[in-house]
């Protein structure tokens, strides 16, 4: 055990190359437990790749990722799924499954193929569906739900894994304001139950309002990592996003609102 392993997520000098490009360059990142960390950055900055590195599905060229002190590469898929859950972006539900059957897939890795789910598993599944606000349509065909509802099914499925680390990969990017807020709010509440949340996001203002700390990614490297007020400055955003950014003071908040402003 390293001294740094008081952190649930430790990323040490990770470089990811997908020939011929270098997607992530020498990333070092420690994330403390019970926090909501949002990852911002322009398209192609490496946000999704970082999520996949943390989830253990993206091989790294150099460096190491440790979750709870154990390198992700040394865990089997089932061992990883017991600790880390992912809500991918724009999930499409397969045809022929009820919402409940989809959420149940989160418990597959706990049981062998011939074992039935226990009463405890059923409770976990029900609780996850309640938290995600989809318990009312648990018996409906999942593929017939709206995009926002399907995304909440994916969120419930991740919750039913009972993870210690929850990764959201632009999980709310395609949702309307209400659904966006609902998922972010539940993710926030999870941090109070000891879950560490790492979310890539596009909405700078939502990230600033929700996250305990922000990671700003640009061209495969971390530009800034810290409290929202320290990371979100007009100058930094203009440099990273290569866009003109305007700030609007926000009542009741130390953070201003950031809006893109077209160049004339």
């Amino acid at each position: 055990m390293n001294a740094s392993d008081q952190w649930p997520i430790v990323v040490e000098q990770v470089t990811v190359r997908i020939a011929p490009r270098t997607i992530l360059q020498d990333i070092t990142l420690n994330i403390s437990s019970h926090t909501f960390v949002a990852c911002l950055g322009p398209n192609g900055a490496g946000k999704s790749t970082l999520i996949r590195v943390l989830a253990g599905t993206q091989p790294v060229a150099t460096g190491q990722v440790r979750i709870n002190g154990i390198p992700v590469a040394e865990r089997t898929a089932a061992q990883r799924a017991a600790v880390v859950a992912v809500v991918p972006q724009a999930v499409r539900m397969p045809v022929g499954f009820t919402v409940r059957e989809i959420v149940t897939m989160a418990r597959y890795h706990v049981r062998a193929w011939h074992q039935r789910l226990t009463h405890r598993d059923q409770e976990i599944i029900d609780y996850a569906m309640e938290q995600a606000g989809i318990h009312a349509f648990r018996d409906r065909p999942a593929h017939e739900l709206s995009g926002g509802e399907q995304q909440r099914v994916a969120f419930a499925r991740a919750l039913a894994q009972q993870p210690q680390v929850l990764l959201l990969d632009e999980a709310t990017a395609h949702l309307d304001l209400h659904h966006q807020q609902a998922i972010m709010q539940s993710a926030r509440e999870l941090t109070r139950c000891g879950v560490t949340v790492f979310a890539t996001m596009h909405d700078i203002n939502l990230a600033g309002a929700m996250a305990d700390s922000l990671v700003l990614l640009h061209e495969g490297g971390i530009v800034k990592h810290g409290a929202p007020a320290a990371v979100l400055t007009q100058a930094t955003l203009e440099a990273v996003y290569a866009a003109q950014v305007q700030t609007v003071p926000q009542a009741g908040s130390t953070l201003p609102l950031f809006t893109a402003f077209p160049r004339h």
């Binding site: 799924a81 045809v95 597959y108 065909p141 499925r157 894994q161």
Partner: protein, 351 residues
């Protein structure tokens, strides 16, 4: 995927064990019917008595030797082989459509059929029939099927990419090459093509108990493997990465599925030739009624696949008796209209 209506929700009361039991009973009844029907019709009770006495080794004194021969040596082996072949093709179709996330995936998608065809004709071309007799073509077909599947995975391994699209494309490319070589050899050989044409269109005309035992064994083994992976195939309907996120050992599921399926289809295809459409129509019709969960879908596809092929075989034997139609014509002839009827009457259209 084809978007089905809500029908499958209303079939939920048919819990998996119950629905499999109902289907197996249906299948047994169809089996008896298939043995009973033919140029000489044999009553159900006689079939039971003859089989029973044969199993116990008792003399068949109350039946004519001709009847006993028809039941034990002609109809029963053929009917059993048809049943197991239907099960193999249909269950494999169901599993492959899940694994490859492709509604058009059929049991032959990784090159089994084309390999079997090439293997069969190569054996004939090389004079294998003289050396090995009646088993030459099945053996050649089996070896050919395995070689092409191995080739497909060799390509995937060399590219170090087992992504499903790459596998399917390699299967299509290598399969097309094998088919072209088959056609070339057929033109070159000229005279023996009747037998080969029968093989390529599917035929159960000359079948002995040896074939039944070989196919039965491989289908049982293959079905056990598919039963083990059935649940985890559900997660692959999302994507391989999402299945990994859910803690599924995707590599293990992929190899077990393809291994079990190849064993079943290569053996079956070696004896019966190529029978199309069973692996597409039966699983899709079932999804329409029972939903997509592979734990229900794969076993039920096996049972209804046997029923479907048994009925098709009965029609092939009786429609223009005493002549026999190739099975492939019947499976397409009744399968396609039935499938289209389902498409037209379902509430949704194709996605």
């Amino acid at each position: 995927m084809i978007q089905h209506g809500r029908q499958w929700l209303y079939m939920r009361w048919l819990d998996a064990p119950v629905s499999v039991l109902v289907a197996v009973l249906l299948c047994v009844m169809t089996l008896f019917l298939a043995v009973s029907i033919g140029s000489v019709s044999i009553p159900f009770l006689d079939i039971v008595t003859i089989t029973w006495q044969h199993l116990l080794g008792r003399p068949q004194s109350q039946f004519s030797p001709a009847t006993v021969t028809i039941v034990l040596s002609i109809r029963l082996p053929r009917v059993l082989l048809v049943a197991f072949t239907g099960a193999a093709l249909s269950a494999t179709g169901a599993a492959y459509q899940g694994l490859f996330r492709n509604p058009l995936a059929d049991p032959y998608i990784v090159g089994v059929a084309a390999g079997a065809g090439l293997g069969a004709i190569a054996t004939v071309a090389l004079g294998g029939v003289l050396l090995l007799g009646s088993l030459a073509m099945p053996l050649g077909a089996f070896v050919g099927a395995l070689l092409v599947v191995a080739g497909v995975f060799g390509i995937a391994a060399r590219r170090n990419s087992y992504s499903n699209n790459d596998l399917v494309l390699a299967g299509v490319a290598l399969g097309t090459l094998a088919s072209a070589m088959t056609t070339f050899l057929m033109i070159q050989l000229g005279r023996q093509t009747n037998q080969l044409l029968a093989f390529l269109l599917g035929s159960f005309a000359t079948i002995g108990w040896d074939a039944v035992w070989v196919v039965t064994t491989s289908v049982v083994v293959g079905m056990v493997v598919l039963t083990i992976v059935a649940r985890d195939l559900n997660t692959l309907l999302f994507s391989e990465e999402e299945a990994l996120f859910l803690g599924i050992n995707v590599r293990r599921v992929r190899w077990l599925t393809i291994g079990g399926a190849t064993l079943m289809t290569a053996t079956a295809v070696a004896f019966h030739g190529l029978i199309g459409f069973v692996g597409i129509i039966v699983p899709h019709s079932l999804r329409f009624w029972i939903g997509g969960d592979h734990r229900r879908l794969v076993p039920l596809a096996a049972v209804y696949g046997s029923i479907f092929l048994l009925i098709a075989d009965m029609l092939a034997r009786t429609l223009v008796a005493p002549q026999e139609l190739p099975l492939g014509i019947i499976t397409a002839g009744i399968g396609a209209p039935f499938f289209l009827w389902q498409l037209l009457t379902s509430k949704r259209s194709i996605a």
